[in-house]
Symmetry: D3
Subunit: 248 residues, 6 copies
């Protein structure tokens, strides 16, 4: 039995609110269990130097946690004067994940800035951020597509992420903080709507894991991301059809 | 007529939600018009070096804005590696203001960390932060007082803040961003529940102002902060009685 | 009786030496009591990015203290690798104050860099810096005006600043460090030669103050800044006539 | 056919030189193809604050590249004043990997500092660093064990790492830089001597990958790490017996 | 003929004012030609970690220039967030030079902080700083010696510094900025009152120099530093006798 | 007798390997005794801003030590977020020294980046770096000259550096770390192949030195640098003839 009574293959309650922040081009408030993240997407009409005159766009993500998102207050990175290694890893991961489902040529010479700010943290903040940021990104692109600034809708597929882990001997889906702390293996899996892997990051720092355990975790992750994609699709309604469509 | 149809001496709609962030000792979500701030209060059982063995406590505030709180995305201070002058001014102001209504001896050797994170900005973020942070601070202290860790409730008086300005020739209360941008004089006033000044900061960078204009603005500020205090009192209910009380 | 025998409404001894630093376009050594500041004004023939092609100029101020300006050596900000919040507040204040009496259009696309370096500190360093920087700024602009690089003399009015405070129950003018440390209220007031307010910053962190105390302090500040303006005028001699004149 | 004529499941030439740096407790020079890394292990008789009085030790890794390890000179992180996100990810990975095969209790309150400096880079620098650092770590611990400062040899298992990827449609082992640049999927796998996974990091930023491709890559990685472990064992000779042994 | 009419072996006019900054334990204003430096000496009753419980003291120097000490405004190091290489070299040089004539054992576990702030720069700022700092240091130590906090006066010898260079083909003493810019060789020499070398730093970046030119420059430097020592002695009056004396 | 049995005027064993790092335009591995440095030279086809459109080139050097180059691990400057004063001094010295033998006009608008990374340190790292970097620089320039991108070979003379010092009473050549630590005077001398001084830096922090001692040290340094130049010449073979030649 899990600490919150869930089944081993059950996601926590998911809620996504679109258009949460007025000034942003795309924005969602996403909560998965007690993990809550504000994701915004900003369209900037220029690209980083290495892409100038390439005809291609870029997606950059930034991630942060409010100091009291956690039980013990964490020091602000702005006060420390530098971003921690953990934050850098997460923001690189989010950017990479979103880029994997976007046709950067079709995006044109634009940068999408994705900001994920964790308001409350209870495990799985990075996977929650990716799942929410995907919706914010789509929302930021739709007006551009509707006013023909984009010839083709650049999002090629859905994208969702979840965490899995081994607790005791058992593979479990969508770990909350308490579970995450006691898990011997921790794995984040990001998948497309079509069921391909975008990123797998599994760590057995406490306990290296066997090929069989790996397969169990991958199976759970596939189930979890598929369920998240269903939620994203319902939420986007008609707009979901643009994704991966023949809309050139 | 003001841009949003308000009277010259009218506050925007105020909403304060208590206990907004689960892990924090005190937390509120405050919105004044479209300005929205999450304020948390954290109790730390130690003080900065300059107060060790003094028997006195301290209050430190930190302030930040999400990148898309504003119409144009602002670069994160963590990414820049330093806090801007504006942020420093605001966090020093918030800390000073809260300390002015707290008996630091009665607080004992504890630090209150006040975090104000602007989710959406539409003018008056620093005064909104102070008004909300006051409530979060009281909420963080009540459990300490109830379990007798504090002999005396250390909050001596209510505290609220508002902005006033001269738009055209007219003094106005509680400027939204659009008004603030066009105001020739901009003033922030922080007052206690008993109607004393804690801080006055008035700037006529565009247009120095006369003593008469100063008086008009001070009158509006008094009205605005009094109304905010009424809202704080209602919200705190019975707990409001601890403030400034004979509870020693 | 005040610690140095002055009357409650009396300034300390003021001395201003012009052309103190040979390489600078404008420079003064100003002492008010034992507070001594070197102020220089530098003319740079370009503006910050946000003003390019606007036809307008800009004024930026920087402020620093020598490590032994104070009784206890303060660590250099260069060694710490960052500017403190106090310094940022002061340099923003100085810049804002000087800009309030300058017609930035008439200045043209130039930046005035104002540097205020406190050699010895005995209270009121920021107000002393502003009073001295005003003279250095005028001196830096006169040659430009005389060689017709400026069509109109851009300085619209005199500018002087002083501090006032409540010591015990009594409002006092121009606090020295010892008085400042024991004052319950501390206020800086910056006024134009015509008697308008440019900036009011009053803080009652130790003790919130009443409207009556505010009026007493404002009256003293008016007297003090008026006297400082008389000294500035005498010092500038004929050049004083350019200020605010019909010199187009 | 691969660019350097290797078979798809073939490692590049591996060379490891022990005791390469005289002053270090453990040090190796490892080259895999044209990738060359100097790995040193330093024993420090104290632990980071979070482990004080826990009886447990710690392993921290740092990674860097000489500016001309690469075809285009990279700017030194010391000159930039900060460590890049890529470096942080790699040093966190190396530390985590080594800790997974060390009994930190048996290590006692000591820190092992692992330094991996890439002298020449031709793909796979992080996996080469891990493979070499493992040997340097063992060498640094042996003298401690021999002089009885360690009651039990703390290294529980061998550790080796390699990269795999999809080039065109084909899974390949141990990518050189040229292959890595053109790979559509890139995966780093770290395994123990007993064939368990310590870390899997696979990214299909350019092209999400199928479950079948994942299995092919995992099979190659297993073969490659097993071969590297054979080389490590031969090199360590008799000392290899301490690893995972009943030496308590 | 030199640009300012001096003879090739002639120092510029030297002026040293003692007790220039009230709050500092020792302080001088030194001008050599148009180079002006404020030097202060601070006594701190503790030492850096590497000297704790060694019974020995330390001397640390910091050096800075006001932005308009020079013809073109230089950016403040505090604003840049780091100290330049030039500044670091100079402050290390000043500290090393002063330590060479101080018996650090006799100083006891104290740190002398030497601050040299260049108010106006016209060549030779580092040598001027050393010559002035020596006097400030002696002045800071005398009260300690007089109140018996020091058993022995720790200053063993006088210390003065000057610059020499090759202009065209001619060796010259005490270069001003204009000469320094056109010199093909530039050398700073620091000598004790007894005529020994403490530091020689000669650079022929533009033109390597011959052994004969080196000898000519060393001869001039000896003459210049001897003259500076005479001035220091006169200025210190009776206190000069403590230096290197049998005062144990 | 010296600690390693050398004569007082004897260099340690010198070894220089050319073309040590494949990707670099010029690179050497130099060892002098147990001091080992990798030096690379990179040609960049642009110059720093202050030289744009001047027709002149530039040489910039960077220097670093691996953490375990030394007996006690030194913290990485990248981790500290800043370069130490010692490193800055050394990299400025190396750059200045190399520029002194290069005709920057003949180099054209190019920057040579010289990177010196100390793999193992046993005294004299900066002089070893200079001696090695000279060879790497020549090797980087030869291909440019051979393909006529340079009309004239820009290196005017050989360059080598060594350290000398006073141990006890005796002047000694090429100090190893153990000697360096006990030396009372420490001097680095950089000389051209024609026997001129490029830089002399002598410090008697522990013990000021006499003119006679200075002469003895200069004589040894002359002998040592001459021997190093012989080694450089042999190593460069025919290419040595380009240096200082009539190759216009």
């Amino acid at each position: 039995m899990r600490t919150d009574g869930r089944n081993y293959d059950e996601l926590r309650r998911v809620e996504i609110i679109r258009d949460y922040i007025k000034p942003a081009e795309g924005s969602v408030f996403i909560s998965i269990g007690d993990t809550r993240v504000i994701c915004t997407a900003t369209v900037e009409e220029k690209v980083p130097p290495f892409l100038r005159n390439s005809g291609k766009g870029w997606i950059t993500a930034e991630y942060s946690m409010l100091p009291r998102a956690t039980g013990v207050r964490t020091i602000r990175e702005a006060s420390k004067g530098k971003v921690t290694g953990r934050t850098m890893e997460i923001q690189r991961l989010i950017g990479r994940a979103l880029r994997s489902v976007v046709d950067l040529k079709a995006l044109g010479e634009r940068t999408l800035w994705i900001d994920c700010d964790v308001i409350q943290a209870d495990g799985g903040t990075r996977t929650t951020a990716i799942t929410g940021a995907f919706v914010a990104m789509v929302d930021a692109l739709i007006p551009l597509f509707e006013k023909k600034a984009l010839k083709k809708f650049p999002v090629k597929d859905f994208l969702a992420a979840t965490s899995v882990g081994i607790i005791g001997e058992k593979a479990c889906l969508d770990l909350c903080y308490e579970e995450d702390s006691s898990a011997v293996v921790d794995m984040n899996v990001i998948m497309t709507g079509k069921g391909k892997y975008v990123e797998i990051q599994g760590t057995g720092e406490e306990n290296p894991f066997t090929p069989e355990q790996l397969q169990e975790m991958l199976t759970l992750a596939r189930k979890g991301t598929a369920e998240l994609t269903v939620i994203q699709k319902q939420l986007l309604g008609n707009n979901a059809e643009f994704i991966g469509g023949n809309n050139g």
